[in-house]
């Protein structure tokens, strides 16, 4: 690339990038030394606990706090009647936009109740236990109205939104004439897919600790995937300049999308701290977690395909209907992946929404791509069976050599290799083509596979490197480590960029005082932050090179900057490596303790076009200006064993192969893919939040009854990466792997269930009742 030197071209010596380095923060984590956001024992700290609404729709008639206020240790009780006034709220579109709020409604700003679990009071006491008990003693009387629980309620008004996903995606898309193509297609198939409500359920619930350092300056220890986004939201809420709001997140116990935005409990805690004049800590209970930070919406997809008798796709028509909140038009953009996964000349998609008394849903573990891939990948399987073609072969017949949705060539695509390697590792060729024909005693055995894809979003960030003359370095970026290994991989990138051993690097993140980095979300963190770190290191070397060539005592005196290269911390002539010196000698001679460099890393379309992107959001229109379409691809292969009498489905073998650009750490990457695939198995087989149809209230909001997979549900998993070299993505060639591991997983499982049983279950999760009750189609 012209605008940035590429890492793989300037670093000929193999280093630690890519190696399976152990987590640099692993020891602190297992020793309990890693401080999560709710673990700062500030002087004078008091505890906030939310009281949430028992009803899903209506008004608060009165709140009686007298009993609660008599409890020992209670400091104050905030309600809509006494919440300190905010400069802006998301209750109007202008405010929502300024705040970047995920929801166009802030609880405790009026007496209106829109959803069950909505905060109605915030109790502050000197201990968590006292605040909790006082919350139970706050008496709220409601004028309740009958709520609407979901789009499936007959009273729910359905409408076609112009935009979905907070305005980021179109509610209607059309490419070619899919209706006409369908009409003349020899093969026509329509299938309806439903998806349960899913909740992110990170191990660490949402938490906020707020301390007002001065009347106009606040510090917030927050459980967030992006300190900068939270800082922007809070500064808009509070009417404070951004630099007077400091947000810190040193460690995160998972997020999976729910910590990607600033949700109501955060600003309510900040206001509570203001009201009581002391630092306040609030941690959501597990039950409150289900109604505080969004979810994946309940949804139905109808996918119609037209194909030739040879299995070539001719038309795809996708319709999605889902539940949204009373104010926002939020739906995951499922159709994007359906529009580009296969070479199909025509495409059409529609979104329909039904308003209900629920909070706004939000990005959840591979948003859009996960449920969208469930529909297209099951339908491709149907097509394969109907035509008697191997499911892998049908995908190869429809292989997209360029992005069908835009016509752009791919920046790189290793999907053929993923298919081939995955099939080999799995033993796909041993599959009996007939469904319901493979047995293991009483159990039915099935093989299924599916394709995965996830976009490289447009993003950028900055980093700072301070290289010390004694041979160590401090590297900083305001990024987040969700627990996936950001600390570790950035240490590796810095080590190679600076020619130092990893133990000479200290990488710092998670603070708005550090250079700005994007949210860890949408798989952008690794690509953006690594190239920022790399660019900052290049800046250091440029500065040192300038020093050297001006320094009469340097072997490089009067050399041209462009003739100097850096190899393992040594500045030397490209053509004569013996002429040079290491940076420590150069800096010591100059009396310099340290040299600082900064770098801006661009990722995705912004890198290719050279145009800056909007760091607050992963997507903007730079993507359409890029020459290439940028995506990761992969393939999952799954064996299930189904007990047809008991309805149980167990995944017994798993192979995933991905092509995702440069892999920064073989160990953390493998772990991340395993984790994401397990999310997918959870969504496929067990994860479902149940919402009562009359009360619009969840009935299983805890981890005993909202099932996520346990160890016994998961077999040994084989994960490999295709060695992929993408020069268009960013300086590092990193595509990011946060989401792709989950995409296609539920389809691979459902396809294996079909192969095992001959029954097609299109309603996730595939629980025993559906195996017993489903009729073959």
């Amino acid at each position: 690339m012209e605008n940035e030197p590429a890492f793989f071209e300037t670093s000929p010596t193999p280093g630690v990038v890519g190696q399976p380095l152990n987590r640099v923060d692993g020891r602190d984590k297992v020793m309990g030394k890693a401080k999560y956001s709710a673990e700062y024992p500030l002087p004078g700290l008091v505890y906030g606990v939310l009281k949430t609404s028992d009803i899903a729709k209506g008004r608060i008639q009165s709140i009686d706090t007298s009993l609660a206020l008599k409890e020992p240790g209670v400091v104050q009780i905030l309600t809509h009647l006494n919440l300190p006034k905010l400069a802006k709220t998301p209750n109007d579109p202008e405010g929502k936009k300024a705040i970047g709020a995920p929801m166009g409604f802030l609880p405790m700003t009026s007496d209106v109740i829109h959803y069950a679990g909505q905060p109605v009071a915030l109790i502050v006491a000197d201990t968590f236990e006292r605040a909790t008990q006082a919350a139970a003693l706050v008496r709220v009387s409601y004028a309740a109205e009958a709520p609407i629980a979901a789009y499936t309620d007959k009273r729910a008004e359905l409408f076609n939104p112009e935009k979905i996903q907070d305005g980021k995606a179109d509610g209607y898309t059309r490419r070619g004439d899919a209706r006409a193509a369908l009409a003349s297609a020899p093969i026509k198939m329509t299938a309806v897919y439903t998806h349960a409500i899913n909740h992110h359920n990170p191990m660490e619930p949402g938490s906020t600790t707020a301390i007002w350092e001065a009347p106009d300056r606040v510090t917030v220890y927050e459980s967030t995937q992006g300190v900068t986004r939270t800082q922007k939201s809070l500064s808009a809420y509070l009417g404070l300049p951004q630099d007077q709001v400091r947000v810190i997140t040193k460690f995160l116990g998972g997020g999976f999308g729910c910590k990607g935005s600033c949700w109501p409990h955060t600003v309510l805690t900040v206001q509570a701290a203001k009201a009581v004049g002391r630092p306040v800590k609030l941690v959501l209970s597990r039950k409150q977690q289900f109604t505080s930070m969004g979810h994946r919406e309940d949804q139905t997809q109808t996918l119609t395909l037209g194909a030739s008798k040879e299995g070539k796709l001719l038309a795809l028509i996708h319709e999605k209907t889902s539940t949204t909140s009373p104010w926002d038009n939020y739906a995951e953009a499922n159709s994007k992946i359906i529009n580009l996964l296969y070479d199909c000349p025509t495409f059409e998609s529609h979104y329909q929404l039904g308003r209900a008394n629920v909070m706004t849903s939000t990005f959840t573990r591979a948003p859009g791509e996960a449920p969208g891939s469930f529909a297209i990948e099951c339908s491709m399987d149907d097509l394969a069976y109907q035509l008697g073609i191997d499911p892998l072969e049908i995908r190869l017949r429809n292989y997209a050599e360029k992005d069908p949705s835009t016509g752009q060539p791919w920046s790189s695509k290793s999907l053929r290799q993923c298919y081939a390697r995955g099939a080999e590792l799995f033993g796909w060729s041993k599959r009996n083509p007939k469904a319901g024909a493979t047995r293991n005693g009483r159990l039915l055995v099935g093989y299924g596979m599916a394709t995965a894809s996830y976009p490289v979003h447009n993003s950028q960030g900055t980093a700072r490197v301070r290289l010390y003359a004694d041979g160590h370095a401090v590297v900083q970026a305001g990024a987040t480590d969700l627990g996936t290994g950001t600390y570790t991989v950035m240490t590796q990138v810095a080590a190679d960029s600076l020619g130092l051993a990893p133990d000479k690097i200290r990488f710092e993140l998670g603070d708005t005082k550090l250079p700005t980095a994007p949210n860890s979300g949408g798989s952008v963190a690794a690509g953006t932050v690594s190239s920022s770190v790399y660019m900052a290191a290049q800046d250091v070397w440029e500065r040192l090179t300038k020093m050297a060539i001006k320094d009469p005592k340097s072997p490089l005196f009067q050399a041209k900057a462009e003739d100097v290269a850096v190899e393992k911390g040594r500045l030397q002539l490209k053509k004569n490596a013996s002429k040079g010196e290491d940076f420590m000698a150069l800096m010591k001679r100059a009396g310099l303790d340290d040299v600082e460099g900064t770098g801006q890393g661009k990722y995705g379309a912004g890198y290719e076009t050279g145009r800056p992107s909007n760091p607050a959001g992963p997507q903007n229109n730079t993507e359409s200006e890029a020459k290439h379409s940028m995506h990761s691809f992969g393939a999952h292969f799954c064996e299930v064993q189904v007990d047809p009498d008991l309805g149980t489905v167990r995944v017994t073998r798993w192979v995933s192969v991905h092509g995702a650009g440069r892999i920064l750490n073989a160990k953390t990457a493998r772990s991340q893919i395993i984790g994401g695939s397990i999310f997918g198995i959870g969504a496929a087989l067990m994860e479902a939040t149940a919402r009562d149809p009359h009360y619009a209230r969840y009935t299983n909001a805890d981890l005993g009854d909202y099932h996520i997979p346990v160890n016994a549900d998961i077999p040994d998993m084989t994960v490999e990466f295709i060695d992929e070299h993408d020069p268009y993505i960013n300086a590092m060639g990193v595509k990011g792997i946060g989401e792709i591991s989950m995409v296609g997983v539920s389809a691979a499982v459902a396809n294996a269930v079909f192969h095992a049983t001959g029954k097609r279950v299109r309603d996730l999760p595939i629980t025993p009742d559906k195996i017993l009750g489903t009729k073959a189609v």
Partner: protein, 327 residues
């Protein structure tokens, strides 16, 4: 959770006296259900009386069968050689319940008193006749996928969540109870839990202040040859969608005695005498097992979401009988 006072005593009579004499008092052993429900404000007790030091201990062979102290822990009982050898269904039911951490804490007596996982019961914002008599039962036409098909009423269809209790119901276990006056009585496990009827708040025949002292399981051929099969939404750490505890004594292909109880489908541990009658004296064949299973669910009253349990319960029972008779 409300504030409460806490008392620990090593004497059963002190414990029962404390609970009998104090309004809002409750016993606590492992606390794995009680504290959970107190945190949810489903139960509010002003005093907890810790009975962990009371010597209701021991796992020993007696003339009446195996006697298990009520304060033995689930994990210790589940792994005990006498239980594993002579009462495999009991061992399996314990080891398939909860998680190792919970099994290490939870007592046998407390396990038998475990309360339902019905989501309406566990959330005080919902009406619930069990928690708040007369307030209604939204489960009847609500989220009832995992609720009971047997023993329910218009007032309540909450599933009894236990595993051990199902095995004990099948194997004729008898509980020894003791009240505040030191008076002891014996109650067969099948009579210990009661169906909800119009009083779903009452779940057992235990009187206020009464404690479970021990459980005795008679020795029998059908106990030595017994098993517990549990079907659930995930492979471990989940409550049963359906389970079956079965015991068989088969001689020369004929069933001499049989024991059958179902779990996950009833408002109490569901012993099926009707199924046992069909099995007893019949050939140990799949046809016999099918007929017994049909009899076991004959009175089922499924709701919209739990209709599948009628089939699942039968299949679970048939599978257990098939596996046991083949073993």
């Amino acid at each position: 959770m409300n504030n409460f006072s806490y008392l620990q005593t090593a004497q059963a009579k002190d414990a029962t006296a404390a609970v009998t004499g104090t309004k809002g008092a409750a016993f606590i052993a492992g606390g794995t259900t009680l504290l959970d429900l107190m945190k949810l404000n489903v139960e509010n007790h002003s005093q907890l009386v810790d009975i962990n030091l009371v010597p209701f201990k021991g796992i020993e062979q007696t003339a009446d069968g195996l006697r298990i102290g009520a304060l033995e822990r689930m994990s210790d009982v589940g792994e005990h050689p006498l239980v594993v050898q002579n009462y495999p269904a009991v061992s399996q039911s314990l080891l398939q319940a909860a998680s190792p951490q919970l099994r290490n804490m939870a007592s046998i007596g407390g396990n038998l008193l475990q309360r339902t996982r019905c989501g309406y019961f566990r959330d005080v914002a919902f009406p619930c006749n069990k928690r708040n008599p007369g307030s209604g039962c939204p489960a009847q036409d609500g989220e009832n996928r995992n609720l009971a098909i047997l023993g329910g009423s218009k007032a309540c269809i909450a599933t009894h969540p236990g595993d051990l209790s199902v095995a004990l119901a099948a194997l004729d276990a008898v509980l020894l109870l003791e009240n505040a006056k030191g008076k002891q009585r014996r109650v067969p496990l099948v009579d210990f839990h009661v169906v909800p009827g119009t009083t779903p708040q009452r779940e057992t025949v235990l009187e206020p202040g009464e404690l479970i002292v021990s459980v005795t399981i008679p020795a029998a051929a059908h106990a030595r040859k017994s098993m517990y099969l549990k079907v659930r939404d995930r492979a471990s750490y989940a409550f049963a969608l359906a389970s079956a505890a079965v015991g068989l004594d088969v001689q020369g292909g004929q069933i001499r005695s049989a024991r059958v109880a179902l779990g996950g489908v009833g408002t109490k541990p569901w012993r099926s005498v009707a199924a046992e009658k069909i099995l007893t004296g019949a050939p140990a064949t799949e046809a016999t097992f099918r007929a017994a299973a049909a009899a076991a669910v004959r009175d089922a009253q499924p709701r919209e979401q739990n209709r599948f349990k009628v089939e699942l319960a039968q299949n679970t029972l048939v599978r257990a009988l098939l596996e046991l008779s083949a073993a």
